[in-house]
Symmetry: C2
Subunit: 224 residues, 2 copies
DNA sequence: GTCAATGATCTTGTATGCAAGATTTGACTG
DNA sequence: CAGTCAAATCTTGCATACAAGATCATTGAC
C-alpha cells in the first residue's frame, strides 16, 4: 500500500458525503470504516478529524463521528454566509478577472446549458458547482476561493436535493445568465446582488425539503 | 488524567500560537510536545491535525508540523477575505442587532478606550479582538460569527505585531468610533465600508513588518 | 406491562510498537 | 578544501494493545 492512507481516506469519505452516498446524520463507525478501507483505526480517526474541521462531519466526544446534520437554523445561516461570500467574490471577480477567467467562466456556463437542455439534474449539479467555482477562481484571491469552495462542499449534500424541485434547474440557469452578463460587463455591484439573491433563494427554497430530510435523517440516525 | 487530552492540547497549542509564544514557521516536534504535555504522540498528532484544518498549523507529509507561516501574497489575500467577511457582518449587524448586542458593543468599545488611554498595546490587543467579535455576534448568525472568529484567530499572530506601529492604536480606535456610530445609527452600508477599510488598512500597513517577520521566521525555521 | 437498575458488550481515546521515508553526519573523491 | 555519496539516526505514519466511558440487554420490581 504505497502513498499515505490518511489523505486518500479523507478524500474518499469526503466524496461519499458530498455525493450523498453517506447521508447527513449517519454514524461513521471507526471499525467499520477501517475494515472497509483495509487500514487500522488510526488513519480513519485522523481523516474523520480533518472532515470534522472542515465542517462535513461532527465528532461527539466518546460518542463517535456523524455526517454533519445541519438543523434548519444552521442551514439558513450557512446559506446566508455562502451568499455573502459569493457576493464578495462577484465584486472582486468583476474588477479583476482576466481573459483566461472570462473564457473559463463562459465554458462553465455552456456546460450548464448543456445539462439544462438535456433536462438532467444529475448532470446539472456538477456543472453548476463548476460555474460557481469559476467565479471564485476569477477573484484571483486563492484564500478566498479556498474558503468559498470549503463552504460549497459543506452545503452540497443539501443542495443536491434542491435540483429535484420542478423548474428549479431552469430558474437557476436563467439566474446564472444574468450573473454572467453582469460579470462580463464589469458591473461588480450588479453581479454581487444577483449572485447573493441566487444563493439565498436556494437556501429558502430548500427549507421545506430540508425539514423533510431532517426528519428522515433523524430516523436513520436513531435506527442506525 | 481525567477528561480528554486532545481538546486540551488543541487549546493550549492554539493559545501558544495566537499569543505569539510559538512563532510562525516554527517546527512542532511531536515527541517534544508529547513530553511537554505528558501524553503520548497520539493525542498530540490529533491536536495538530485539528490546528492544521483551522489554518494555524501546516503539516508537510513526512516532514512534520509547522506553525503556519503566511507569505506576503497569502497575507494580503487573507486580510482581503477578512475585510469582506467583516463588512458582511457589519451590514447584517446594523440591520438586526438588538439592545443586548448594542450594549455589548458599547462595553467592548469602552474597554478599547481604556487601553488606548493607558497607551498599552498589549492591553489593546484583546479588547480590539473583543470589539470585532461583538460585531460578529451582533449579526445573529452563528455560522458566520464562527467563521469570522476562525479567520480572526488565524490572523492574530500577525496582527499582534501591528499594534507596535506608532500611532496605529489611536488610529484604530478612531476608526472603531466611526464604525460603532454607523452601526448604532443602523447605517449598514456605511458601517460595512468603514469596517472594510479598517481591516484592509491593517493588512496593508502590515506588509513591511510582515516581510521583516518573514525573513526572521525563515531563519528561525532553518535554525530550529 | 412498563420502567428502572445492573451487568455484559461495544466503542472510543490513549499508549506503545514497528516499518519506511527524511535528515544528518562523516568519509571519500575530485 | 568543496562537494557528494552513504550509512547511521531521527521522525513520521500506521498498526496494535488496553483502559475507561457509553450503549444495550436482561432481570427484577411495581
Amino acid at each position: 500500500m504505497r502513498g499515505e492512507a490518511t489523505p486518500r481516506l479523507r478524500e474518499a469519505l469526503e466524496d461519499d458525503i458530498v455525493a450523498g452516498r453517506l447521508r447527513p446524520g449517519q454514524r461513521l463507525d471507526e471499525v467499520g470504516l477501517a475494515e472497509r478501507f483495509n487500514v487500522s483505526r488510526t488513519p480513519i480517526r485522523e481523516a474523520l478529524i480533518q472532515l470534522a474541521s472542515s465542517g462535513l462531519v461532527e465528532i461527539r466526544p466518546r460518542r463517535g463521528a456523524f455526517v454533519l446534520l445541519l438543523g434548519p437554523r444552521e442551514l439558513i445561516e450557512s446559506f446566508e454566509l455562502m451568499a455573502e461570500i459569493e457576493a464578495a467574490c462577484a465584486r472582486l471577480a468583476a474588477r479583476r478577472m482576466g481573459d483566461e477567467d472570462r473564457a473559463a467562466l463562459e465554458r462553465a456556463h455552456h456546460a450548464c446549458e448543456d445539462a439544462v437542455r438535456a433536462g438532467d439534474p444529475e448532470a446539472y449539479y456538477p456543472t453548476n458547482a463548476a460555474f460557481h467555482a469559476a467565479i471564485y477562481a476569477a477573484t484571483g484571491n486563492r484564500v478566498l476561493a479556498a474558503e468559498a469552495l470549503r463552504l460549497q462542499r459543506r452545503l452540497q449534500p443539501y443542495r443536491r436535493l434542491q435540483l429535484r424541485v420542478p423548474r428549479r434547474m431552469d430558474a437557476s440557469f436563467a439566474e446564472h445568465e444574468a450573473i454572467l452578463a453582469a460579470l462580463l460587463s464589469g458591473d461588480g455591484e450588479a453581479a454581487a446582488e444577483a449572485l447573493h439573491a441566487h444563493v439565498l433563494v436556494q437556501g429558502e427554497r430548500f427549507m421545506s425539503l430540508i425539514t423533510a430530510l431532517q426528519d428522515e435523517a433523524e430516523v436513520v440516525a436513531r435506527a442506525g
